[in-house]
Symmetry: C2
């Protein structure tokens, strides 16, 4: 039979990208669209990072080592040491974006039918990679009322079965912006050790912390064999299109298995490895500037949201996302309506409905995720638009 | 339990790369190694292709569309038309190398436990991607005596079960260099239609045909819904490190499913998409030069091999590989011995043992694959070395 596979059918469409056709139609009508829906930073990629590629002088665009260029991995050792993560270059495998690091981890550590616990709301593509790998995602609900803090350990215990193999944590979190504390990370360590689980730690937003600093899963002691860091240069250096990430791990058996998957796909992209390597030499204060910019945006967007009638937005400690509870009936309907039927002074706002970030059906229907990847002026205008839109929408549904 | 997944254990190590440590040791001893083991062309990447990236002037290295830049896909429509493949830009999804096109095809069309028929010897990484997807590869043996022609259709019929979902064909073939004829492709069409199978067609070496021209799976009429082309710029433009390929298909349901997997990994690499797009504008005679160069190399390597005592090398019609039967007991042992224990005038040769390209255990033990990716002078020296090595090895084993 000429059919689509079961996993091809089950594979979820991207909740972030599914509204794109409505946005395109709005633009075609001449409506300006403020994109707060996707984590594509507007921050310029550092010139020296792009120049490293532009000034390269090789003659053959060759495959690199399947683990990535050794020179890059050796420099990454220094980068990781600078954030308190102590690994050698053989414990780093360069991946095609953070996406591939996630895939490698799932494939090497989990079999079809295994269970993976993830606090929800979570980065929707974890679910996509889990479907591709035949793995079942078991969500544990965190709530907007607590600012999306780590759910009680009892909630994890209640969901652990003999098929549970791993927990995924994203810190600081996408989509909530929540920055897990050292105490929360220690709680995860206890449960990982008690039940002999892997701890997959997505640390894409490591540098973007506005209230304290990040506790990496590799700062935890005594669980070296359990921890896998899934990393990426995408957000760190505003280099999303490079598709360069890293799989970082101290468990030799896991590294050996991942290398076989890495060899099958030959190598990560060569051009962007040059960019990634150059980024290590950015001045130490590079993140100060971008962090200050993101912090101002966060402060503005949170203030503006909480000033709107019936809106609640907890103050996110990191990343560049905020989750807000809106006085609406259905976030999917509202976000589509914003693009299809609304404009304020010729503009509208594109948001990500939170439903796509929850594993439990029915949750997140009044919530949206906002990526503060626009400059302060645009954020202000987008918030003006949203404020007026909520009033107009309220009249429609009441 | 903290264990490696079953698929992580079953995943084969790359047969092409597993001898690398022995080659590194040989080089460390001061021995020159002629690399005929891997399809990394020495041909320079066209300057205008690299310059397109080096002269780019964007400020933010952004995600592209998950299907790849529309401008690139629209230009690819013209490229494909020039080789008799008529598709529109929405039937092309840019992938991260041909590798990802293979993965997408397997994930969208096949479920765990499904069977995939592939004439052996075959590109070893098909097996890797099959293991990752939980799919079973069913090999059908082609032999060096026939020059690796398509096995009789009866051999396919004998292996088809209710779980058979697809056939993979690579034309011209890696590792054998065999160029399937129009008649052979028509035979595949018949069996694909009769049993309602997908035909995955790897056409990475399309332009490199030295005896006639390639018959693409998309030249076959009446099987549009069945055909999936897995393509790449790696060999075509000597741009292996770009990691840019394409998934080309006219079956809308398959395209829709693949797009969901494509969205999950966000986008293909941005830098190399610029390179791929520039390559479409290469002068029409670009391939004449590279093809003439490869043809001279093929002629030389085949002549030299067949002139050696007890060696048989069929004349490959395409790609840049030759398979040779050697007067040896075990290709894996021989290839390792070449690197570990042999040199001729300070040099040795690295070959790929054919065992890694067969799915049936025990086959290919007297065969090796040679990639003619070195210049004529180096090929000549490598063949001198191999000729002497075979004599020395013969004394060891007899």
């Amino acid at each position: 039979m000429l059919t689509i596979s079961q996993r091809g059918q089950e594979m979820p469409a991207s909740p972030i990208r599914k509204l794109v056709p409505y946005a395109e139609a709005a633009k075609a009508r001449g409506t300006k669209v403020y994109h707060l829906n996707i984590g594509q930073p507007d921050i310029e990629t550092p010139k020296m990072v792009l120049d490293a590629v532009r000034n390269s002088d090789f003659k053959v665009l060759e495959y690199s080592h399947s683990a990535g260029n050794e020179s890059y991995r050796r420099k990454l050792v220094n980068y990781y040491a600078s954030v308190g993560i102590h690994v050698n270059h053989q414990q780093i495998i360069i991946t095609t974006g953070g996406s591939e690091a996630i895939q490698f981890g799932f494939l090497a550590c989990l079999d079809a039918g295994d269970e993976l616990i993830i606090p929800e709301p979570f980065y929707a593509n974890y679910n996509g990679f889990a479907v591709a790998a035949g793995v079942t995602v078991v969500p544990i609900t965190s709530t907007i009322e607590t600012g999306f803090a780590l759910p009680p350990i009892a909630d994890f215990e209640a969901k652990i079965t003999p098929r549970t193999k791993a927990i995924v944590i994203c810190n600081p979190n996408n989509p909530t912006g929540y920055l897990y504390s050292k105490e929360e990370m220690e709680q995860l360590k206890e449960i990982v050790l008690k039940h002999n689980l892997y701890l997959f730690s997505d640390e894409a937003y490591r540098e973007f912390c506005y209230e304290g600093t990040q506790t990496s899963a590799m700062h935890l002691t005594g669980i070296d064999d359990h921890v896998i860091i899934m990393d990426t240069i995408s957000k760190r250096y505003s280099a999303c299109g490079g598709r360069i990430g890293a799989f970082v791990c101290k468990n030799q058996k896991v590294l050996d298995a991942v290398m076989k998957f890495a060899q099958a796909r030959l190598s990560p992209p060569s051009f962007a490895q040059i960019a990634g390597e150059a980024a290590i030499d950015l001045p130490a204060n590079y993140f100060d500037t971008t962090k200050a910019e993101y912090k101002s945006r966060r402060d503005l967007i949170v203030k503006r949201l909480n000033a709107m009638d019936g809106v609640f937005c907890p103050n996110p400690g990191g990343a560049f996302y905020a989750m807000a509870k809106l006085p609406i009936d259905d976030a999917d309907v509202f976000c589509q309506w914003l693009l299809e039927s609304y404009d304020y002074e010729g503009a509208t706002v594109m948001l990500a409905p939170a439903t796509g970030f929850y594993g439990t059906p029915g949750l997140g229907k009044k919530e949206v995720r906002l990526a503060y990847v626009l400059n302060l002026n645009d954020i202000d205008k987008a918030m003006d638009c949203l404020e007026h839109a909520l009033k107009a929408y309220s009249k429609l549904i009441n």
